[in-house]
Symmetry: C2
Subunit: 307 residues, 2 copies
DNA sequence: AGCTGCCCTTGCATAATTGCACAGGATAAC
DNA sequence: GTTATCCTGTGCAATTATGCAAGGGCAGCT
């Protein structure tokens, strides 16, 4: 008879197109050629005898039938992701790959030396680092471990608060030499965009009425802008203190901090290699608390003291 | 990272092996070569890094991990079957294939001429007839329509009672000419096996203490045995009256009947081609009620009258 | 208006998957 | 004990799926 999902894997490609809205976007997400996605979707629709997407010049749009298909396909995906987690969760080998996701400032400024140490300690475990400021899904196994900043973790994940990032004001020597005095409000500022709501709020509390001249969408970008002499920036001490081109200009209020979270999915917490990485990083980050909390580059050394 | 279900279609093959217990059985069920199943299962396990089956000389046995995988894969299968039904349920074309399942006595003795008429009426619809006495799953789309006998349909199906098969005692002319008298209890009998519980009960009520010399596992087999002169058999009039080699020997009690059911899955009842077939068969079977209820070959014409 | 970058679609070559044929082992039936 | 039938497993050829390269369309930018 007709209209059977003959190849269940077609649903995986269908979902990717549904999510991205384009064949090309789906192909990138899936790691295949866009012509492959084109043919697979076409064959899938032919086999079902139904149109799942409307073809537009700039992409593919779900039809009503496609929307119903998507709802079911998402349930299939959840189920299969659960199976993958179940299998991985029982894996007691200290080998294989762990995919870690984090934001760029941690990826460049904090993690590499710890991951290098981890690799020395566990040569059988490979690390795949996925850097990006989009929050990847651990439920869908887009990553196994996440190192995130924020003030509470998502509900479905398990993990621990692994440290606290204390922020201070930094600027480059070049910037400071050519700009006026100790009144912070009179300086140029590098701030953050609306996606960093916690940082925006704290900055506005700290310097009401000051509008940053540049708003970055990531802390790493802000740090780079500060190094380039574009202004002063509130930056985490654990990262900025390691930059020879930056100087700590002033402290920030005690609440100008972000918590650091080490997270995984509940089903994966007993996977040996994931357990090993989480334990290792937790210990390493604990030992780095003085740096993270700004107590090394420290108190009393700022160009401008706390008022 | 490891242990992801990379190709969701692997689950479909996995389930087939889990069900049948052998590569060869799964291959037959799936319509592929057994070597394909062998390689797909091997690759699936390698990709997951876990053994799902224990290899035995006579087949494949699920490991504990395999059993957990099976539980989830069954949920995936249900979901995908629901998607297939959803798509098919919306199909308004009077074309395509309808898979019909029924038991052998109906397949050989009743359906063919009606299916021939249906095909003439709807040349765009193809019929696939699956004959067997195993009850196929309409939920899993093993068939679209079932013509079954029994006294109530399974809960999850929808359908209608399409007629009633009245039974009578039949024997071949050869048998009767060479066997003694009007006492039915003194004859050789062809009965049914334990899977035909309703018929066994009725027969025992009818002739207590008579043990059939031959027990058939299908009514078609019983009919063939009766034609071969092996004894008397309780057979449905709608089928046996059409056999020139069989004569109705005696009536049976009024409750020696089976209901005829036309069934489909709830989600498929609005599929145009399935709707068309159900309506057509219901009408055809209604018109055949005189034959099915034994009123054509009938009353008063038996060699031995009802006591 | 022209250019750039994104998109979809298609023909051909390559890679991967599948089927075929065969071999060997185990079990059941005779 | 022998034979038949089932099973799994493997090498090679055939088939199918995929990637590559190219072309065309469209929207946005200069």
């Amino acid at each position: 008879m007709n209209a059977q999902v003959g190849n269940w894997d077609d649903l995986r490609l269908f979902l990717a197109v549904a999510r991205s809205g384009t064949l090309s976007g789906a192909a990138r997400a899936l790691g295949v050629n866009h012509s492959t996605v084109f043919r697979r979707i076409g064959a899938f629709e032919d086999g079902l005898g139904v149109r799942l997407f409307e073809r537009l010049p700039n992409g593919y749009l779900l039809t009503p039938a496609g929307e119903e298909m998507q709802a079911g396909a998402l349930r299939v995906e959840d189920e299969i992701a659960g199976l993958s987690r179940m299998v991985t969760g029982q894996d007691l080998r200290l080998s294989g790959t762990v995919r870690v996701t984090t934001i760029d400032m941690l990826a460049f400024g904090l993690l590499p030396r710890h991951l290098a140490s981890f690799r020395k300690a566990y040569p059988g475990i490979e690390i795949e680092l996925v850097v990006g400021n989009a929050t990847l899904s651990l439920s869908r196994r887009e990553a196994d471990v996440a190192l995130r900043v924020g003030n509470e973790p998502p509900e479905s994940l398990v993990g621990r608060r692994a440290g606290r990032l204390v922020f201070a004001v930094y600027g480059s020597a070049d910037y400071y030499d050519s700009h006026i005095g100790p009144d912070l409000a009179q300086h140029d500022w590098i701030g953050f965009d609306a996606e960093h709501a916690a940082l925006v709020r704290r900055f506005t509390s700290f310097l009401p009425g000051v509008t940053p001249a540049l708003r970055a969408n990531s802390v790493a970008a802000a740090l780079a802008a500060a190094k380039a002499g574009l202004g002063l920036a509130p930056l985490p001490c654990g990262i900025a203190d390691l930059e020879p081109d930056l100087a700590r200009v002033a402290p920030l209020p005690d609440d100008f901090t972000l918590d650091l979270w080490l997270l995984t999915h509940e089903d994966l917490r007993r996977t040996a290699r994931i357990r090993a990485l989480l334990d290792f990083l937790a210990d390493a980050l604990l030992k780095e608390a003085p740096l993270l909390e700004g107590r090394l580059g420290g108190d009393g050394a700022e160009i401008i003291s706390a008022p």
